[in-house]
């Protein structure tokens, strides 16, 4: 069952949600940076940009997450669990961001090992996604199976802007359903005309995405190109920073370190890490299997479009194109893998 919500009511809905949950939505600051920030009122939501500079990933998979607190004194060692995560709403992310949660969620449950920090957070998070009306030149979500500016994978509630200032609201999960039933005064039932309008929206939006990758073909090429001389030159412009990996909705690699406050108190912390860093694979003593910048560059693309496909039958990428925009030297992930 689909519903309609008028755009003015979206702000009212946000104001209501703020009262009971932590609501994160795109906010614009003085430097024109648009990031997911905690809303104090619905009016703070900035809905005019297609993509935020970084993803909403860090609202569920924190960039630095305290696993537990450690107290070590003469009476022994005591571990204290962190507080339970709060009920959270991520509002206004895009289908590519939402699908990222679906992809890393599988990793965090891989082979029977359940990552409880991620799992607890995602269970308490409601993801309200807005379909993309104006995809940009860096977008390539349609290259992926089911990828589209209206894709609902990973979302709890999908809003698709239609003409006449209203959005079609579709509950994808029970959490999405709960938003519609809990705040029913803002939603009215949609008719066949609106559902048809969504199909037109999809066609129009998809037309704007001109780049389409042959991902099965690329996977096949990558299978045999590990030793290709292509990598000798392809990596040269790359400066091996971690911008691409940190703005990515699917990059999940992490490090576990200790944050010590004094000789007694410390915290075990997980922080995002990046395969671009020399430190990522350097062992104590200095041996490093990926010491070459070339090897690290290759690893990123191989992981996303080859190794991860072997393990999970899907690419570690949603086609959001953020890495292309964030790259200080404008490396285009699409052409890197197409030109192998």
């Amino acid at each position: 069952m689909a519903y309609l919500i008028i755009k003015d009511d979206i702000k009212n809905l946000l104001d209501e949600l703020i009262k009971v949950k932590a609501v994160f939505a795109p906010k614009k600051d003085a430097e024109d940076t648009v990031l997911f920030g905690k809303l104090a009122s619905g009016a703070e939501w900035y809905g005019d940009s297609l993509l935020t500079h970084t993803t909403a990933k860090d609202k569920v998979y924190l960039q630095s997450e305290t696993f537990f607190k450690i107290k070590k004194d003469k009476n022994g060692v005591f571990l204290e669990d962190p507080a339970e995560p709060a009920e959270t709403v991520i509002f206004g992310c895009r289908p590519c961001d939402a699908r990222g949660f679906d992809i890393i969620g599988k990793l965090f449950n891989w082979s029977g090992f359940v990552d409880e920090y991620y799992t607890k957070r995602i269970q308490k998070t409601t993801i309200i996604t807005i379909s993309c009306e104006k995809p940009e030149s860096t977008c390539f979500c349609t290259s992926f199976l089911n990828g589209s500016p209206v894709n609902s994978t990973g979302s709890d509630l999908l809003l698709t802007p239609l003409k006449e200032g209203s959005c079609l609201a579709e509950a994808i999960t029970a959490k999405g359903e709960a938003i519609i039933t809990g705040y029913s005064r803002y939603f009215k039932e949609a008719g066949a005309a609106e559902e048809k309008a969504k199909i037109e929206f999809k066609t129009e939006a998809e037309k704007k995405i001109t780049k389409k990758l042959d991902l099965p073909g690329i996977k096949q090429k990558l299978d045999t190109s590990f030793d290709s001389s292509y990598w000798d030159t392809a990596h040269l412009p790359c400066v091996k920073c971690g911008a691409c990996t940190f703005v990515c909705p699917t990059c999940y690699c992490f490090d576990i370190t200790e944050k010590a406050f004094d000789n007694i108190n410390s915290e075990r912390v997980r922080s995002w890490d990046t395969c671009m860093s020399e430190l990522f694979t350097r062992m104590a003593g200095g041996v490093n299997p990926r010491i070459d910048t070339k090897k690290r560059f290759r690893q990123r693309f191989m992981h996303k479009f080859n190794y991860h496909v072997d393990n999970f039958k899907e690419e570690l990428c949603t086609g959001c194109g953020r890495c292309i925009k964030a790259c200080p030297v404008s490396i285009d992930i699409r052409s890197v893998i197409e030109n192998v």
Binding site: T33, H53, P237, T257, P328, I331, S335
Partner: protein, 279 residues
């Protein structure tokens, strides 16, 4: 201008004067370029120069130390080459500097000209081995007005401003990795024995990182703005790098990458050295 540039590089490569030409090529759309590494005369057709050529290619000199390189530089990138030569990171004989006349570049993130272009005295490059093109006007004197304006703020205001900036920082190290003078193979930020910086990303650790980096590049940073334009979350690092340039100028009458013979301010001692920088 592209043709002139391509012909020159074709000649240098054909005559084996250089192994690599590092220039710009079109990136993902008409509004973006990326560094291009060209090794053969046949491959020069992709080289371009336009107002989207924002990267400072001097960055790559320390990564290709053993090679002879033709490097395309805007007027504002040339001090980087001088600084690296001065720091003995690269031999001047190994680099042919091709100056590209530039009427200002556009930041791909904002579509606007960065502050350095509005405040530029080297649109027509100075100190290049070859120059292509002619800039329209080239005589804006450099000023530090924006930094001076910022200095007027109270400590509390400054702190609030930077706290807000470093809260945004994701410690991707793009600023460090695009910095031509941040070439340390083992940056303090990744040392484990001792551990100067915790991997934990929060405003305090981030601030620590940026402050130490700024200290490390004082008197070496040419204020090229590579770090500022590289930041994926638009932290205005230009305010810091320009402050470094201003302090070097005002306290030590020194400009990084300008005079090959001047001694860097932090490697000399004079009884009359100002102490205002001591915390």
């Amino acid at each position: 201008m592209d043709k002139e540039l391509q012909d020159l590089i074709k000649k240098l490569l054909t005559e084996k004067k250089v192994d690599y030409a590092i220039g710009y090529e079109k990136a993902y759309d008409e509004f973006s370029t990326r560094p291009a590494f060209v090794t053969s005369a046949e491959d020069t057709a992709r080289l371009i120069f336009n107002k989207y050529c924002i990267n400072n290619l001097g960055l790559y000199l320390t990564k290709l130390k053993k090679n002879k390189i033709a490097l395309i530089c805007k007027g504002c990138d040339i001090p980087t080459v001088r600084e690296l030569v001065k720091e003995k990171q690269f031999s001047r004989e190994n680099v042919i500097v091709i100056g590209a006349a530039c009427d200002g570049v556009l930041d791909k993130r904002t579509g606007k000209q960065p502050e350095k272009c509005l405040n530029c005295g080297v649109k027509q490059p100075k100190g290049a081995d070859f120059t292509v093109g002619t800039a329209k006007d080239s005589t804006t004197a450099r000023n530090f007005n924006d930094v001076a304006e910022f200095e007027k703020k109270s400590s509390k205001e400054k702190m609030q401003f930077w706290d807000r900036q470093f809260e945004k920082c994701i410690r991707c190290y793009a600023c460090r990795n695009v910095c031509p003078v941040c070439y340390c193979p083992d940056c303090f930020a990744q040392r484990s024995m001792p551990e100067y910086l915790n991997k934990n990303v929060d405003a305090e650790e981030n601030k620590m990182f940026h402050m130490i980096r700024m200290q490390h590049v004082f008197g070496r940073c040419t204020d090229c703005k590579a770090c500022d334009t590289a930041c994926p979350v638009n932290i205005p690092l230009t305010l810091l790098t320009k402050k470094l340039a201003k302090d070097a100028k005002e306290l030590f009458n020194y400009e990084s990458g300008a005079d090959m013979d001047a001694r860097p301010p932090l490697s000399t001692y004079d009884e009359d050295d100002p102490e205002s920088g001591i915390m």
